[in-house]
Symmetry: C2
Subunit: 238 residues, 2 copies
């Protein structure tokens, strides 16, 4: 804030730039689609960015090879599933038909248009380029989720392990677009729940989730057995 500067005399007050009317705002096209094995390099880069953001880069050992060997081994929604968020200043061309047209259940890409007041400066358009050359599309985020199960409901649900939007695309409703894609898929499949976790000090995120209709379970704590403590069980039957 330039609070120390005296106000200019009335004649010199510059005209405040008005917000551009909707018709002249820059449209940003956003698309959520199923990720494919060819997207793994983008996914790995975003996982690494997420680890850096969470100051957990030392804990991130994911490689393209390890992701490729553990994802895409089951039809979508039956196991680990990645939805990719792409953005473009040009309308998206239709996706090519799936290589295996019998794959069910299908996921129709979700496309939404955001009207930007200001252009977005993306310093990584090259490495996150997606689709055909000249399409202008870049990968902007992803959500990874998989089925979980409620014994009380005797129904599957989805657990959202990661939701990530690249920094320059945040605060534009794109995270909500990804999470909504998972929730609407769960609802369409008749599933009972969508769950994820949030850090207890992240009040903005908690507020956002509560506004979506989620409840925050305050009394439960996650227990994790990992690393050497888990390996020690390899040869134990009891």
């Amino acid at each position: 804030m330039a609070a120390a500067a005296p106000p200019p005399p009335p004649s010199e007050v510059p005209e405040m730039p008005e917000l551009a009317p909707p018709s002249s705002r820059r449209p940003l096209f956003a698309r959520v689609r199923l990720a494919a094995p060819s997207d793994v390099p983008h996914i790995r880069r975003m996982i690494h960015q997420m680890a850096v953001f969470e100051r957990l880069a030392d804990h991130c050992t994911a490689t393209e090879a390890s992701l490729s060997s553990t994802l895409f081994n089951s039809p979508p929604f039956q196991s680990f599933t990645v939805l990719l968020l792409e953005v473009s200043h040009l309308p998206f061309a239709p996706l090519p038909p799936p290589q295996n047209p019998t794959a069910v259940p299908a996921f129709a890409p979700i496309v939404h248009t955001i009207n930007l007041d200001l252009p977005i400066e993306d310093p990584e358009t090259q490495i996150f380029a997606s689709g055909a050359e000249g399409s202008g599309a870049v990968v902007a985020g992803f959500v990874l989720f998989f089925p979980n199960y409620s014994t009380f409901l005797a129904k599957p649900g989805f657990y959202v392990e990661d939701l990530f939007v690249r920094e320059c695309y945040r605060r534009k409703g794109l995270g909500r677009m990804l999470l909504t894609a998972v929730a609407s898929q769960a609802a369409r499949m008749g599933y009972g729940r969508v769950e994820w976790v949030v850090l207890d000090w992240n009040v903005n995120a908690i507020k956002f989730y509560e506004e979506m209709g989620a409840k925050i379970l305050q009394d439960w704590r996650i227990c994790r057995l990992t690393g050497e403590a888990l390996s020690a069980f390899a040869n134990i039957d009891y």
Copy 2:
């Protein structure tokens, strides 16, 4: 307690029964095996008992039909998986060979013998009878778990949704036997984590889990979107 009865005169003090030496204690044979569709009635009864114990019976809508239609749709460990705990005062007969011998990965039943100082009074041996008539085996508990995924590790893990031991069989190491079966299976499969949740006030459970080598994640809270709030997303793409 017959606290009102006066103590007998010294000459009539009965000899205190000594703890039986190990060789004469009653053995209780415990077995952990993969559940089969024919176990669903037992599983449903235990889910209901668990709901009553947690004072959440109103939230429990699981039926035999809903469990049968959502479990056992995938090979073991690839999706929702139930391990069943059986106990018997007689040694277990070997299990019949699997109906589908090509099913992989196999799970070799785990058998352990517990020496009881006192016999267990099980008021429900009839309804929880398991296996051939006269085998003496009863179902005493179960664990339901399914794969989860860590993007940082780029590895699957297991998430334990429910761990239950019927009341008269508690405090004998049987819960540990079930959880250890899941952890050792995860370790043998090269998985990265086993996770579950615990209520934050359940200090005995937390101590037990920490002694197993688990860490309690204090900062994370579970977010849950369910019921009408989830159904509202059925027709929303954004």
